[in-house]
């Protein structure tokens, strides 16, 4: 009960969340390996969406280049592991630091020179793209040849070295996504969350109320980048291989933002709802597309879903869904 109050939920919403969590905890025991692997993809999408949502949904700064932070987290921890045998948990922290630094630098550069809105978004794409090209020529991490993590056939999952089955990653991601949910909620409930939303709604008014807009924007960017990099580490150790052209892909940046937009930008549960709907159905589309030999069904589906949401429910599915289910959403 205390946990539900800490999240600001009505009893009904707390029950719904509890039920959802229980199902998620039991799911790996009930479904086959293929479904687990799809769920891992869903949880990655949810977590990356939650991380992106802090910067764009809460603080209103549109980033279209979040693949950059996925890549920095993935490459930093993987390279430290491959070359020095450093445990991925320390590598993860290093990756988060690198990403936070990169994010702050990009934000500081942009906002110092009053680059905002669409131009800022373009700049985030540019940084992601030229980092991709940089890594294409970065021999120490394999360049275009790719960076590979040794696959160990262990009898047991080894969470310390992040070597293990998809089920282990499933649970790690579940915990991570839940932690991101609690963190997001707690941020929104504090001064920093109010300030971010004020900046999102009207920068000039925010400034007149004593908010150091520059500092708060950088903080949002740094936190969002660090959280994304954390997910990047898990992605590296899940996939076991890294190529600049897939890790830093523009397509990944786009996929990161679609789930929160469909689910409800700036809401707590939007990214999660969006990830389940989109990635779940997207995966089905991929299968159908192989089965019927029609290529690109998933991309068509993403496009259609985005169009439908923008036209019919621009604030996203979650605000509508929570009202329909009689759950209580605090914001929007």
């Amino acid at each position: 009960m205390r946990a539900s109050r800490a999240l600001g939920l009505s009893p009904r919403a707390a029950a719904a969340l509890g039920l959802f969590l229980a199902v998620m905890l039991l799911l790996p025991f009930l479904v086959n390996a293929y479904i687990v692997s799809v769920l891992v993809v869903v949880l990655f999408a949810a977590y990356f969406g939650q991380s992106w949502n802090i910067m764009t949904g809460f603080a209103g700064q549109l980033s279209l280049g979040h693949a950059l932070y996925v890549g920095l987290g993935a490459y930093t921890s993987a390279a430290l592991f491959v070359h020095f045998g450093l445990t991925p948990w320390l590598g993860m922290i290093a990756g988060m630091a690198v990403a936070a630094l990169a994010g702050s630098a990009i934000a500081a550069l942009s906002f110092r020179f009053r680059v905002g809105g669409v131009y800022f978004a373009l700049l985030t794409i540019a940084f992601a793209e030229f980092t991709r090209i940089l890594f294409d020529h970065f021999g120490w991490v394999g360049a275009t040849e790719g960076l590979f993590l040794p696959v160990a056939n262990l009898a047991h999952d080894d969470p310390v070295r992040l070597r293990g089955s998809p089920v282990m990653f499933y649970y790690l991601l579940l915990v991570l996504s839940l932690a991101a949910l609690v963190l997001s909620h707690s941020l929104l409930d504090r001064r920093v969350g109010y300030y971010w939303q004020a900046i999102r709604e009207d920068e000039e008014a925010a400034r007149a109320l004593g908010i150091d807009v520059f500092r708060y924007k950088i903080a949002a960017m740094a936190l969002s980048a660090a959280m994304t990099a954390l997910g990047g580490t898990l992605l590296a150790f899940y996939d076991n291989n890294l190529y600049p052209d897939t890790v830093f892909a523009m397509g990944r940046s786009i996929e990161i933002i679609i789930a929160p937009i469909i689910g409800g930008l700036g809401t707590l549960f939007g990214p999660i709802v969006g990830a389940f709907l989109l990635t779940g159905l997207g995966e089905t589309m991929t299968n159908l597309s192989t089965y019927f030999e029609i290529s690109g069904l998933k991309q068509w589906f993403y496009g259609a879903a985005l169009l439908a949401i923008v036209a019919l429910q621009p604030s996203g599915l979650w605000p509508w869904l929570s009202r329909a289910l009689g759950l209580w959403e605090r914001r929007r």
Partner: protein, 248 residues
């Protein structure tokens, strides 16, 4: 006026060819209510923007409570003790009315409960309490103007800059607002600098009036004194009419 709370000393601002504010000086004493009036384009809003840090003056200085705040950023001006409203209202549309005011209250405290309590008090004082949970974007224009004021008040300013907050209000609402501001100033010692086209409010509220015309200060004094000043009548009513006015 020697121990002024806000002292504006010879500030100027030029936009390309236009001298928007030209060597303007005036002062607001602690707890004083000063009105800045003048026809459209006289430089009232620019003067506000200069004081609140939204623009940097070309010359002159602005001193608040003994500290020189000239050329500081808007957020620094706010932290120094200047609370301002915008003539073109800027509500945080997606946030509730209460949350809007809490953003202001967070200047004085990081504690959410304390900020919430402070915001409630201000909403009650300004008659917005029953709208507290509504999204700000659903408010009418007069309500949005009151929200601007509430938000600025929540930062606990030493001086409140009100930029035409009475525009569009009905006469009874104007009287309510005048009473609210007069009470506020008397009870808390808050100083107020206002620009206003609603003369009913200016005359009822202000202790002192500064008149701007083409960016220059043409006159200042007590309300009754300013209302009789021939130069003021001229710039408001035009040359001929001022001359024709009996007893002017």
């Amino acid at each position: 006026m020697s121990a002024a709370l806000l002292e504006v000393r010879g500030i100027s601002k030029r936009f390309r060819g236009l001298q928007a504010v030209d060597n303007v000086s005036f002062a607001v004493p602690p707890g004083g209510i000063v009105a800045l009036i003048g026809p459209n384009g006289a430089g009232k809003t620019t003067t506000f923007n200069l004081i609140a840090g939204a623009m940097v003056p070309d010359g002159g200085s602005i001193v608040l409570d003994g500290a020189d705040i000239t050329g500081g950023r808007p957020d620094q001006a706010c932290r120094a003790g200047i609370g301002r409203t915008f003539q073109l209202v800027k509500p945080f549309g997606a946030l509730s009315v209460l949350q809007n005011v809490m953003v202001g209250a967070f200047k004085a405290t990081a504690d959410r409960v304390a900020a919430r309590r402070a915001a409630w008090e201000i909403l009650e004082r300004l008659g917005l309490a029953e709208k507290a949970e509504n999204p700000a974007k659903t408010l009418t224009l007069p309500e949005r103007k009151r929200l601007e004021t509430a938000r600025a008040l929540a930062t606990r300013p030493k001086i409140l800059l009100l930029d035409e907050v009475m525009a569009g209000l009905r006469p009874t609402e104007i009287d309510q607002m005048v009473r609210a501001f007069a009470d506020l100033s008397r009870e808390t010692g808050l100083a107020i600098l206002l620009t206003e086209h609603v003369m009913r409010a200016v005359m009822a509220l202000s202790h002192h009036i500064v008149v701007l015309h083409h960016g220059q200060k043409i006159c200042e004094g007590a309300p009754e004194q300013v209302a009789r000043d021939p130069q003021v009548l001229e710039c408001y009513l035009g040359h001929a009419q001022a001359a024709e006015r009996p007893g002017a």
